[in-house]
């Protein structure tokens, strides 16, 4: 059963290295670059809202491109291969989500401390942001897969998927930003974030596979 999953993961990694992987990172960079110009030269304010801006940028960058997660395979018949694979569809979708996270979200996590410096976010807070993103972005990717599966048959579903999953992404955002607060010395928000991530990691692939099975034609 491992063979099909590894094949799926390696193929999606190979396909992503051919292009789309950098898109989210560039979008993230744009958000972070433009914010200081929009807010004005108030370093204190910038440092205070910095973690929130980083989270917003990372959240939107994660959702960007998620609609393509399953659409490309829907268009060229690859989904049929996934249905007939010798591993359950749930796990195949999980492998795709993992590949998406590695190529799209992990670069955001690594870039976050660097981009934090551009917003005058201190090193401790920056590392907290990176840690919170490391835990929170898998939750967003799993959620996004459900949106992608629900809109897979829609030719212009690009923006519909993020809108569909946004309500469920809000808790991730709230606890993600709360976990970045350097004045706290407990890890309660981080714990909640981890719980959300684990829950979504279980429910996401199952719900996405269920939607694909329900909507196939």
């Amino acid at each position: 059963m491992i063979g099909p999953l590894r094949a799926m993961l390696m193929r999606d990694l190979a396909l992503a290295s051919g292009g789309s992987a950098g898109l989210g990172l560039v979008f993230f960079l744009l958000v972070v670059t433009l914010t200081p110009f929009a807010v004005g030269p108030d370093l204190a304010l910038l440092a205070r809202i910095g973690p929130a801006i980083l989270w917003l940028g990372a959240l939107l960058a994660t959702l960007l491109g998620l609609d393509r997660l399953l659409q490309a395979d829907h268009e060229d018949g690859g989904l049929d291969l996934m249905y007939l694979a010798s591993a359950p569809l749930e796990l195949m979708v999980g492998a795709k989500i993992l590949a998406h996270w590695l190529t799209t979200c992990l670069p955001l996590v690594i870039a976050a401390p660097l981009f934090g410096a551009m917003l005058d976010v201190g090193p401790t807070t920056s590392l907290r942001v990176a840690l919170a993103l490391l835990i929170g972005t898998p939750a967003l990717a799993c959620l996004g897969a459900v949106g992608a599966a629900l809109t897979v048959g829609l030719r212009r579903g690009g923006l519909l998927a993020p809108v569909l999953i946004l309500p469920l992404a809000i808790p991730v955002l709230i606890f993600g930003v709360a976990a970045c607060d350097a004045t706290r010395d407990d890890f309660a928000p981080l714990g909640v974030l981890g719980g959300l991530a684990l829950g979504y990691a279980v429910l996401g692939p199952v719900a996405a596979a269920g939607a694909l099975k329900l909507l196939r034609d």
């Binding site: 099909p4 193929r11 190979a14 249905y83 010798s86 195949m92």
Partner: protein
């Protein structure tokens, strides 16, 4: 092993496409599904593969281990060839083989369908006929007993059609089954034909 469909009905988009279709194919057997455009040939194949849920009736495999899901005994070659433009021909085939859980060799499979020369070219440069040949190579790379072929000769030249006929004959000689939707004469020896009536 036997593939049996009983009173199979399928509804697509609120419209019944198939009603009460029954057939049975045994080991080494072949079934050609014929009928005009829109008669439901592709729908029937997808329903057999489990890609479409039946509205009523059933498809089942007799004489097999119940532990293995039916879909793992089937190959489905649809209209779309699932070839990724960004990957080389051989990597496309390797991916399909690994996903389908096969252990066949890649180069001999490509050789058989006449693509060995192009193994390292990206999938994007293949013509429609060559993509179809690559899809046929999957049948060899990941051996499965039941082949569901939707218009397998579409875009194939005479050489490709001969290669396909050879593949099918070898597969049946080994006890495999072939169900094909077709307009062209596929030259199945002593195979059955299922004529689907057009629906109005």
């Amino acid at each position: 092993m036997r593939l049996v469909a009983e009173a199979l009905s399928v509804v697509r988009g609120g419209r019944p496409v198939l009603e009460g279709v029954s057939f049975s194919v045994g080991a080494g057997g072949a079934l050609a599904i014929v009928g005009p455009n829109g008669a439901g040939k592709s729908t029937l194949l997808r329903a057999i593969a489990g890609l479409l849920p039946p509205a009523s009736g059933s498809v089942r495999l007799e004489g097999v281990d119940d532990e293995i899901p039916a879909r793992e005994s089937m190959h489905m070659l649809g209209h779309l060839d699932a070839v990724k433009s960004g990957l080389s021909v051989i990597r496309n085939l390797a991916f399909a083989r690994d996903v389908l859980g096969g252990e066949g060799e890649l180069l001999p499979a490509l050789e058989r369908v006449g693509l060995a020369r192009l193994a390292d070219l990206p999938g994007g440069v293949l013509s429609a006929g060559q993509r179809r040949r690559l899809a046929l190579a999957r049948l060899l790379a990941a051996p499965r007993p039941i082949w569901l072929l939707d218009e397998p000769t579409a875009a194939l030249d005479a050489g490709g059609q001969a290669a396909l006929a050879g593949l099918v004959a070898d597969h049946r000689a080994k006890g495999g089954m072939v169900v094909a939707a077709t307009h062209a004469e596929l030259g199945f020896k002593d195979g059955d034909t299922l004529d689907l009536e057009p629906r109005t």
